[in-house]
């Protein structure tokens, strides 16, 4: 088994399992920590896809900043553990037939996923296109395109962040009663 394949399945496994546990288990702090692990797996996948800048940005921005924000909020609000779905009458899973229908959908999805992967992996021509080193991946290339073709979007993004910052500060501050 080529190293690439092993690494792909390893990182993919970490990502999916961690994401699954984020959604399934009920302690919110564990959810945040598991999501950080999931992002780490994704960063590994980006490195495999010859996108080291995206991988590092993922760690810096997502795992390093956004998740810290989540963790702060969870700790400040002292978010309690959620009750299991069996005890909550209004929970969507307790609607009639919800679990059965959901199970059918999951099975269909898994069949389709396995077919899509198995159907293609035998064929040599379907492999991901190999990149010459430094062509797509270099930070210089990204910077060049970012500041020329996407310059307007870049500037608008800075306005977006300003709006978000002001909004977050205003929404979360204490009302002087």
């Amino acid at each position: 088994m080529a190293l690439d394949t092993v690494l792909f399945y390893a990182f993919a496994g970490i990502t999916v399992l961690a994401a699954l546990f984020v959604v399934v288990q009920r302690n919110p702090v564990y959810s945040v920590v598991l999501l950080i692990a999931s992002f780490g797996g994704l960063a590994g996948l980006y490195v495999l896809l010859d996108a080291p800048f995206t991988a590092v940005t993922q760690i810096i921005v997502y795992a390093g900043a956004i998740m810290v924000l989540f963790l702060f909020t969870v700790m400040l609000l002292n978010v309690p553990r959620e009750d299991a779905s069996e005890f909550d009458r209004a929970h969507p899973l307790n609607r009639p037939g919800a679990r059965r229908f959901g199970a059918v959908l999951v099975v269909l999805f898994l069949i389709e996923a396995v077919w899509a992967v198995w159907h293609v992996s035998g064929r040599e021509t379907a492999a991901l296109r190999a990149t010459d080193p430094g062509s797509v991946a270099s930070v210089r290339e990204i910077g060049k395109v970012l500041f020329t073709d996407y310059a307007f979007a870049f500037e608008v993004t800075s306005l977006l962040i300003l709006a978000a910052m002001v909004g977050a500060v205003v929404l979360a501050r204490h009302r002087a009663e």
């Binding site: 702090v29 080291p52 590092v56 760690i59 810096i60 390093g64 810290v68 963790l71 702060f72 930070v139």
Partner: protein, 364 residues
């Protein structure tokens, strides 16, 4: 189908690269040895920092420091480690068991990993023992500066999870304050780095050091500190704040918060936090050495002894760290945050703007 056409699959597949035994490849062995050496060097440097901290603190306070354990007190850090090793490992009953033990691991792992991409010497082939030169760092990444930044930001989780999982008010407050401080100063840290990157035009630490060889007018070395003095100052201040060292160590303030986020830790978990802090200091100083002080470039020594210059410069920066700790009083928390956001961040942005303008005007 002609007899000479290579239709067998083995002939069509490209041959494997070397037909010598891969496990005994001398370059691979050298790289593994390098990993081992770097790891142990970091551990020893943490031990050395323990000793020098006590000694320099003593000299600054007109006393002698450790002199009894071993000659001139040199075995003091080992005595400290033994003491910590034999202490009882406590955990508060209400503490979250998994996160409580995970937090120091995250801190220490992030501290060690960040040093993996820092080069400490010129590429060498160990005087002909190796078939080709290998660079003297553990991982060869061409986005090295960003990787250091990323791993440093992962170290925050060790602190914030330690603070929360201890389930005690001093720990929680210390953890939250400490991580808020770290993420605030991370911005100035990154912007100071960005100034150097604009000049150096590459993200690889190795290439940045290579660009600092040579001299202006034959006398002044081409170090980036002369091109980026403000950047260096901002970087060092942000680095001190990032590693939670005085005068920015309010989260560990003994007088106010018992011991902040590591109040409830004892024995080896505490030792891991201690270790992580010192190794973070070493990493910040090592990156500053490479970026601003020319890394392993220096006069009088042949090129292959460059790592000695690296160690000298690293030692100077670490001394600076210790000197500042025992000289300046501690910042209060709101003063700390005000300074970070209202003074250091605008300075860093200004530095970046001026640097970028200078590069455009003078054509690098």
């Amino acid at each position: 189908m002609g007899p000479a056409a290579p239709t067998r699959p083995e002939a069509r597949r490209p041959k494997p690269e070397a037909d010598k035994n891969h496990l005994m490849d001398p370059v691979l062995i050298a790289q593994i040895a390098l990993v081992v050496v770097v790891f142990h060097a970091l551990l020893l440097s943490a031990a050395g920092m323990v000793y020098w901290e006590r000694k320099i603190a003593a000299w600054l306070q007109q006393r002698v420091g450790p002199i009894y354990t071993g000659p001139a007190g040199l075995l003091q850090p080992f005595a400290d480690v033994f003491k910590l090793f034999f202490k009882e490992e406590l955990r508060p009953l209400a503490a979250d068991k998994f996160l409580f033990y995970l937090a120091p691991v995250i801190s220490a792992a992030a501290a060690f990993s960040a040093f993996a991409v820092v080069p400490f010497g010129p590429p060498t082939d160990f005087w002909g023992l190796l078939p080709r030169e290998i660079p003297l760092y553990v991982a060869d990444v061409n986005v090295a500066v960003l990787v250091i930044f990323a791993i440093t930001s992962m170290g925050i989780y060790g602190i914030v999870l330690a603070g929360w999982s201890s389930n005690s008010k001093y720990s929680l407050l210390g953890g939250l304050r400490s991580s808020a401080q770290m993420i605030s100063y991370e911005l100035s840290y990154g912007l100071a780095l960005a100034g150097v990157l604009v000049i150096g035009n590459t993200l690889s630490l190795h290439d940045l050091v290579e660009q600092q060889g040579g001299y202006w007018f034959g006398v002044i070395p081409r170090w980036f500190i002369f091109l980026q003095p403000l950047g260096f100052v901002v970087y060092m201040i942000a680095g001190i704040a990032e590693t939670n060292r005085a005068p920015f160590d309010f989260p560990e303030a003994e007088q106010e918060l018992v011991a902040g986020y590591h109040t409830e830790y004892s024995s080896m978990s505490f030792a891991m936090f201690f270790l992580a802090e010192y190794i973070n200091m070493v990493t910040v100083s090592a990156v500053a050495t490479n970026l601003f002080l020319g890394g392993w470039k220096g006069p009088f020594l042949p090129e292959w002894l460059g790592f000695l210059w690296f160690l000298i410069k690293l030692g100077a920066l670490l001394f600076f760290y210790l000197w500042i700790r025992w000289t300046l009083p501690r910042y209060r928390y709101d003063q700390l945050m005000t300074f970070g956001w209202k003074v250091l961040l605008p300075l860093a942005v200004l530095n970046l703007l001026v640097t970028a303008a200078g590069v455009v005007y003078f054509g690098a």
